[in-house]
């Protein structure tokens, strides 16, 4: 059985545009450099730099703040850092997600078929990260999140992205942290760092050193809010990226 495309989630900064999006494709390209030499019986190549581009397609819903077209247009050519995330499969935690950091829209094409709906597609440039989702949805209590198994342990750190979409009430220094362990029971977890937030938006946490195979998010503090809705993507160098 394949992975249903409709299970994707598209996040642009704090906005969840999944309901207004109907397509996405992520192109990860690596430049090939010719490295032919004497004594080489066949052509030789070597990979050099990598790059990424995300294309999303959606429906025009209006010109107001928070509308998908307006928010994408506001990020067209901007030098203000933005984040765009594609959670590939929201049917479960631990599934892949791609995050474009320092993202900006390079091309927005409006499609206005005379007998159809107004649609558009946007091409996003940025620095690509690849990880797994540790959190996706509403949080109403403190405590430990689901334990996720990485493909392997990492030794070179990584990056976590917390995309806070909504806060129920007022949060002051709400906090989530990331833990890892070498056993699935998380009997002696290692704290890899915390993110504090008081508003919707995207927050980054750089992780260093060893990240063991089993990981989870921990909701340390709601900051006085009744809850919040967020996604957390953990990217581990040498493992998921």
């Amino acid at each position: 059985m394949g992975v249903k495309a409709w299970r994707g989630r598209l996040l642009v900064d704090e906005f969840d545009f999944s309901l207004d999006t109907f397509g996405a494709s992520l192109e990860l390209a690596v430049e090939s450099e010719k490295s032919d030499n004497w004594q080489s019986e066949a052509g030789q190549l070597f990979p050099t730099e990598s790059g990424a581009m995300l294309t999303t397609t959606g429906y025009y819903t209006g010109p107001d703040a928070g509308d998908i077209y307006q928010e994408m247009k506001a990020r067209r050519g901007t030098e203000t850092p933005a984040w765009v995330a594609w959670l590939f499969d929201t049917s479960a935690l631990g599934n892949p997600a791609a995050v474009l950091d320092s993202a900006w829209a390079s091309n927005i094409v409006l499609d206005t078929p005379v007998k159809g709906l107004i649609k558009f597609n946007a091409k996003w440039e940025g620095v690509a990260y690849n990880g797994l989702t540790l959190l996706d949805g509403a949080v109403v209590a403190t405590g430990n999140g689901t334990v996720i198994t990485l493909p392997a342990a990492g030794s070179a750190g990584g990056m976590a992205f917390l995309l806070v979409r909504a806060i129920d009430g007022t949060a002051v220094d709400a906090q989530v942290s990331i833990e890892c362990d070498s056993v699935v029971g998380m009997s002696t977890p290692t704290d890899k760092g915390a993110i504090q937030f008081s508003a919707v938006g995207v927050y980054e946490l750089a992780l260093t050193g060893t990240i063991e195979e089993y990981v989870r998010v921990v909701i340390d503090d709601l900051g006085g809010a009744a809850g919040f809705t967020a996604a957390l993507v953990l990217c581990v160098d040498g493992v998921t990226q």
């Binding site: 992520l26 080489s40 066949a42 990979p47 493909p151």
Partner: protein, 138 residues
Amino acid sequence: MSRTPAKENVGLTYNGVDLRAHLNSVSMEDVVEVIESMTFASTAIEKGPGAPSFKISVGGPWSKTLHQAIAPDTLNPPTTLRTLVYYIGPSGSRVTRTWTGSATVGAFVSNYKPDATDPKGDIVWTGTLELSGLPVES
């Protein structure tokens, strides 16, 4: 002459990961450089063969397993090329080409594209595997 269906008779392993369950198209290019060798003494256009080069275009249903096998190499290309094994044909009449990974021989991914443009369908993917050096054939 008998014919050979592709189903169950094509295999591709990248970096030790069997990709067969994630593929429904594999197209291998085996191209020899064409060197024009015409001179003033020639009576017609003359061409000779140069060195071969290889490339594999792939595609199929996307999955988490596939993504974990391919995506990291596109974000951080390996300095030691990956081992790739490609075969066609049924057991007993099979052609296998193996690029054993090293600094100069092996495979890397030059393009990887997960695609979810049909909301009623599954996520699919396409990719290009660049091959460096000459394979061992068996």
